[in-house]
Structure formats: C-alpha cells, structure tokens
Subunit: 282 residues, 2 copies
C-alpha cells in the first residue's frame, strides 16, 4: 500500500517533552562521553564534580525535539525504513534539564525510484518561555515506496575540499554500546536482538545511527567549539553505512571560518556519515 502523500505539510499538535539531568547524563555515556578516559567530559557525565557545571551534549537536541508528526504516513513495512539524514540547529544552548514544546510536519515525499525519501521538520520552543530552542530536520528512506512519478527532491552540493582535513578525531565505541544507548529511548531490537537483526539481514545487531551521530557530535564539539556547547550552532549529515558496536569512528573535519565540512568513517575506510556540515562560533 502506498504512502499517504496528503500528509505533506500537515502540522502536528504541539508535543511537550521534558528531560532531567539524569537523562542528559545517560545520553552522554550512551554516545561515549568519558569512554576510555572518565576524567574527560565531566561536564557531560557528572552533575556534582567540583568546579564543573553540568551541560547537555548538543546532539541530545535531536532526541529532545522528537515528536509524532500530524498524520499517519500510511501503511508500509517498518523493516523497510532506514534513517537517511539528520540535521539540527540550536537557537540557544540546550539546558541539562528542560522542557520543550515541539511542532513537526512532513515537508516532502520524494521519489528516489527504489524507494521514497520522507523529509520531516520539527520546531521546538522552550516550554516555559516559548523561545525557539531547536530546529530539527530529518529524513527516512523507505524501500519499495518509490516509483510514483514524483520529484526526486533537492540535492545539495557537497564536495570534499582538496586538502588534508584540519582535524582528524578517532573515538572508540564499545561492543556493548547499543545496550547503553538504547536506554535513551530507541528500543528498536535491530540494535540489541541478534534474531531480529538477522531477519533484517545483518550478521549481528547494529549501532543506532543517532549513536554514531552523537559520537561524531562530540568530536565536532571538542575540535571546533572548544568543548563549549554554547558555541555549537548546527550539524547535519547523511547516514551512508551501518556501524557495528565496537567499531572505531574517525571524524575528518575541514574548517572554513564558522562552518565546517566533515565525514565519519570506520577503520576500513567505509564512510558511515557522509556530506557532513557543522556551524559554530569560532
């Protein structure tokens, strides 16, 4: 059964989501903060270290701004859906504990032939003050739902600069990383259950794309923004290949003023987040 193309543009009701200091800490260790050297990144992993104020990792904004869209997308096999792209922009620093009210809508359903690319946008405001906090844009690719004669959608130019990266940051992940990351909310058994992962065609459970995204965000935060979340403005990237928990991730970063291009790859060179862009306060 095809997707319901009438869903495009229909705004959701405002959806309120709160998070606690503990939620921020759990997310931080879930994306590897303190991994290997627990004395680093104490601002993200502890709330009571001497002289250290707790901060939220910028990428936690993607989870904070998650909200149901206004209308059901139609009937399709959820096993055919993969997270394709993720962008977010912070209009102010995300607090370590807070509450947002989010409105989201599907902004486009694009025809990629072998499948449909469904793009969604969410706007989250501080629940108390009403001030804009997060704009989040993401897209999912649904295999088998293309070929409806629609537009292929916009394609943004992205070319690797013809020079060595300005920063190259490698972070390990743990074999058990997904068991930890999933406690921040995404309980899809694809990331934990070998039986389910096998049915989806993977040799073993794969890491959450948004965990890879969060690990990458830590590299950008430390390399570009001096580890200060208030200087981290935006980040976007395209998920291009799955990661198995335990694989190392190397983020290559090319800086141009207050923006940067980046790419995340595994040890064997496979690119897992492609076409990355970030903005920050130098």
């Amino acid at each position: 059964m095809p997707l319901d193309h009438g869903v495009v543009g229909v705004p959701s009701a405002p959806y309120e989501r709160s998070w606690t200091s503990k939620d921020s800490l759990l997310y931080a260790v879930g994306v590897g903060a303190g991994l290997g050297d627990p004395l680093q990144e104490l601002a993200f992993t502890t709330e009571n270290s001497a002289g250290v104020r707790q901060r939220a990792l910028p990428t936690f904004a993607v989870l904070a701004a998650q909200a149901p869209t206004g209308r059901k997308l139609g009937d399709f096999d959820p096993a055919m859906l993969v997270h394709a792209e993720q962008h977010f922009e912070l209009h102010r620093e995300l607090p370590a504990a807070g509450s947002v009210r989010t409105t989201s809508r599907v902004t486009g359903i694009y025809d990629k032939g072998s499948g449909a690319l469904v793009a969604t946008e969410a706007h989250a405001v501080d629940a108390a003050s009403g001030e804009p906090m997060i704009t989040s844009r993401s897209s999912v690719f649904i295999r088998g739902e293309g070929g409806f004669g629609g537009d292929r959608g916009p394609r943004e130019e992205w070319a690797e600069p013809g020079r060595a990266p300005d920063h190259v940051v490698t972070y390990a992940t743990r074999p058990e990383q997904a068991l930890l990351y999933r406690l921040s909310g995404d309980r899809n058994p694809l990331h934990a259950d070998p039986v389910f992962a096998g049915r989806a065609g993977f040799p073993r459970p794969i890491l959450h794309g948004l965990c890879t995204y969060g690990v990458t965000g830590r590299a950008l935060l430390h390399a570009l923004a001096g580890s200060d979340p208030a200087r981290f403005t935006s980040m976007s990237g395209r998920f291009s290949s799955p990661v198995l928990p335990g694989e190392s991730l190397t983020v290559s970063i090319w800086v141009d003023g207050a923006t940067a291009l980046f790419r995340t790859a595994k040890d064997d060179g496979t690119v897992v987040i492609d076409r990355g862009r970030a903005a920050f306060t130098p």
Copy 2:
C-alpha cells in the same frame, strides 16, 4: 562527636521504593552485563529480544531494599565512612519491575578500636502482596569512632578450602564503569570527581563497592545458578580493598552442595571482596 548508640534497634517507618524495567536494565549494564559480548545476558540488558523474558539481576535487590534507618546515627565525618560488608537474601525472585516496602534498623554498633562497625538490617516486602521479598544486611566502618569500650562484635569463621576453586571467572570493568553505575543512584563524587577523590586520598576516582559486588554477583549467577535468578538465594561478602574502574575482577568459587564460598581479586592478586558466601538451588 560520638555516635548515638541509642539508635540500635529503633525500627524505621516503612519506606516504599519502586523500580521500572529501565532501572533494571540500567543497573545490569552498570555492573557490566553484556560487556564485551552484547549477545550474552540479553535477559538482563533487553526487554524485547525474541524468546527472551526480561529478568532482574539478583544483586539489584541490595539497591531495591535500601531505606533510611529509623534515627540519625549521630554526627560524624561522612568521609570517614566506608562500606564494609554486604549480605542479601532473596525470598522470591526479584521482578524486573516492582515495588517493595522496607523497614530497616541498626542492629549493632561494634568497637573495632580504630573505628566503629555499624550493622544494619532491612526487610523488604512486596508492596502489593506484603510477601517477604528481600532481607538485606550491611555494615559500614567509621574511622575514628571506636574506642568506646564496647563489644567487638561477632566474627564468623571463613577459611579458604584447601583445594583449587571449582570455578574461576574473570570479568573486565571499563575505565568509564563508575560513570555508568552511578546512574543507578549512588552519586558520591568519590566515584567520578578526581578533585574529591584526591581529597579522600585516592589517585583517581574509585569504583563503587556495590558495582564490584554486582560484577561478582553476575559471576556467581552464571557459575552456580545456570544464569537463572530464581535459583540464586543469597550472597554476602566483605569489601577489603578499593577497585579502580578498568581493573579486571576474578571471582574464585568453591562449591559445597547448595552453598559456595568465594573471593574476588584484582589481576595483581589484591583481594577486593573477601569472606564471600553464596547459596543457590543446584
């Protein structure tokens, strides 16, 4: 100022504590379930794996049965207090999510010369049915509070059997283990903040004693009870030396029918849990 010896025997008001499926999962990964091999111990780390029912690790009972005692112990420097011994007994299997009502009391204050040993006992019943679920006994050693001319307290015999252990199980811990374990409730900065740990005389933050205890409990569960929490009856041990996160723990187990003696040591042979006893259904 001395301890208030009048506290002995004064029962607390019943204290109710609930835990969720997520609390059990977080505790399990906090004590290393799935560490290194995420496909093991799925019953403790996931709630939605095909054909696997979620269970709580038996040692989670110690946290579930924690409750304030009936009266303040007196004024003393909390930095002088260390966890000395921990025992628990399960009267039925701990559910993955549940609620208990706990009454606790100080059962003795013993004079060890250099300090006082304060022993506490807690009885937790299922909050819904009133049926006994957990008996927990623990003691803390408070340096500088001895020498009051009191009884030295009972001393149970424990001798290493004159033969090789029946089981020897080694589990790694992660350098970041305490950052994860602390999210199950014990936020003492001794386990995360290098400044605080330095003031307490440690080169860096040390692992929670109850994390070491939980790792040890996993070894006992798998070696003695066929990984079945319903067959795990009781466990006790004395904390004899601190562990740094990242150190490996080797549990040596001597079985005798439905009971066992055990000891947990670091790679350099330092014993960290001594005088261990466990009971199980063979």
